[in-house]
C-alpha cells in the first residue's frame, strides 16, 4: 500500500509536470496523461517533507455512503448472527429426521410428516393441524353455500309474490274508498 501511494505520488508529480509543460504534449500522447490520473482533483501542497510531494486530494464525500453501509451491516448482523448460530446448532446437534415406513397400527401426529426439526417445531406449536385448516375452509364454504341458497330462495319468493300478489310483500297504500267522490258518475247523463 505504501508502494502504491508512492507510485501514485510519483505519477501525480510527473503528470503535474507534464500538464505544466503544455497541453500540446497531452494532445499528442493522451494515453500518458490518462495513466497518471488520481481520484478527484489533485492540488499540490507546500511543506514537502522527505517523502516527496504531498498531495491534497479533493474528491466528493464518502461519509454518508460509509455511514449507511456500516449501519446496514450492523443492523443486519445484529439479528442475523444469532439466527445463523441457532440454525447451525440445530443442524449439527439435532439433525434432520429420517424417512421411515409408518409402523402398523400407529397414526403419526401431523408434525411428524416434516423433515427439518425447525419445520416440525413450527408445525407443532405455531400452526394449526392441516385437518383443522381443512375443516375451517369447509365450514367457510358451508356457510357461503347456505347463504347463496337462502338468497336464491328469497329472490324466487319475491318474484312469485310480485307476480301472484297473494303474499305479505308488495302491498301498496291506496286511499280510503269513503273519500272517493262518486257524484260525477251518479247520474247516467254526465
Amino acid at each position: 500500500m505504501a508502494a502504491m501511494s508512492l507510485l501514485l505520488r510519483a505519477a501525480a508529480g510527473w503528470g503535474a509536470g507534464r500538464a505544466a509543460s503544455g497541453a500540446a504534449a497531452g494532445a499528442r500522447l493522451p494515453w500518458l496523461a490518462r495513466a497518471a490520473r488520481l481520484p478527484g482533483t489533485v492540488a499540490p501542497v507546500r511543506h514537502s517533507s522527505s517523502h516527496g510531494k504531498r498531495m491534497f486530494i479533493i474528491k466528493a464525500t464518502s461519509f454518508y455512503d460509509t455511514r449507511f453501509l456500516n449501519l446496514l451491516r450492523f443492523y443486519v448482523f445484529l439479528t442475523g448472527i444469532p439466527v445463523a448460530l441457532f440454525i447451525t446448532y440445530v443442524n449439527i446437534f439435532i439433525g434432520e429426521a429420517e424417512l421411515a415406513e409408518i409402523p402398523e397400527g400407529y397414526i403419526p401426529e401431523y408434525w411428524e410428516y416434516y423433515k427439518h426439526p425447525i419445520s416440525r417445531w413450527i408445525a407443532r406449536y405455531l400452526l394449526d393441524p392441516p385437518e383443522k385448516d381443512y375443516e375451517k375452509e369447509m365450514a367457510l364454504l358451508d356457510v357461503e353455500a347456505k347463504k347463496t341458497e337462502l338468497r336464491l330462495m328469497q329472490l324466487e319468493a319475491r318474484r312469485l309474490m310480485r307476480h301472484r300478489g297473494d303474499g305479505p310483500w308488495y302491498h301498496y297504500e291506496t286511499p280510503d274508498k269513503n273519500l272517493v267522490d262518486n257524484s260525477m258518475k251518479s247520474t247516467p247523463d254526465n
Partner: protein, 177 residues
C-alpha cells in the same frame, strides 16, 4: 443435508478395462495424488461428518409420508354440494401435482436419462424399453391433463374426459358402420 440419490436404483455395470502391466519403473503419480487427497481433504472431512452424525444419533426421530384417504370423485358429487366439490378438487390437486402423476413422469424420465448415461453410444438400441415407457406415460399424462392450462381444475379435467369419451364413442360408431 441434501441426500444422495439412491445408488442402487441405476447401477452402472462394472468396467471392463483390462489390467495393464507396468512397463516403466517410474511410480504412478496418481497414487501420490490420491494419498495426498486422502490425508489433506478426505480424512478431516470424514472425521467431522462422523462426529456430527454421532451427535445426531443420540436422539433419533423419524418422518413419514402422509397417506390420504380416497374421497368421492367429482363425478360422484351432487350438484350444489360445494363441500364435495372442495374435497374432490383437493384430491385431484394432490393427484396431479403432489406425489402421483407429475412425479411418475419425472421418475420415468430420470430412468431414461440414467439409461442413456450408462449406455453411452449404445443408447438407441439398449434403452428402447425405457423410451417406450416414457412415451406411454407422457401420452397418458397429456391425454389426462394436457391442455387444461394453468387454471385447470378438477371440473375442467372432468369435462375434458367427457369430451374424450364422446369422441371415442363417435369413432367406435363410425368404425362399426
Amino acid at each position: 443435508m441434501p441426500e444422495d440419490r439412491d445408488w442402487e436404483a441405476y447401477k452402472v455395470p462394472p468396467t471392463r478395462t483390462p489390467e495393464s502391466e507396468r512397463i516403466t519403473s517410474v511410480p504412478n503419480p496418481i497414487t501420490f495424488i490420491q494419498t495426498v487427497f486422502n490425508y489433506v481433504i478426505d480424512a478431516p472431512v470424514t472425521f467431522v461428518r462422523e462426529w456430527i452424525e454421532r451427535q445426531q444419533a443420540k436422539n433419533k426421530f423419524y418422518y413419514y409420508h402422509q397417506k390420504f384417504r380416497r374421497v368421492p370423485d367429482l363425478s360422484e358429487c351432487l350438484e350444489g354440494d360445494y363441500l364435495c366439490f372442495y374435497e374432490a378438487e383437493a384430491q385431484w390437486r394432490r393427484d396431479r401435482y403432489g406425489w402421483f402423476d407429475q412425479e411418475i413422469v419425472e421418475i420415468v424420465r430420470e430412468r431414461l436419462g440414467a439409461c442413456k448415461q450408462r449406455e453411452g453410444p449404445n443408447q438407441f438400441q439398449n434403452c428402447a424399453k425405457e423410451m417406450e415407457q416414457l412415451a406411454q406415460v407422457t401420452k397418458a399424462y397429456q391425454d389426462r391433463y394436457g391442455d387444461l392450462g394453468v387454471h385447470g381444475n378438477a371440473r375442467t379435467c372432468l369435462m375434458k374426459q367427457k369430451h374424450r369419451m364422446m369422441e371415442e364413442r363417435k369413432a367406435q360408431a363410425k368404425a362399426s358402420q
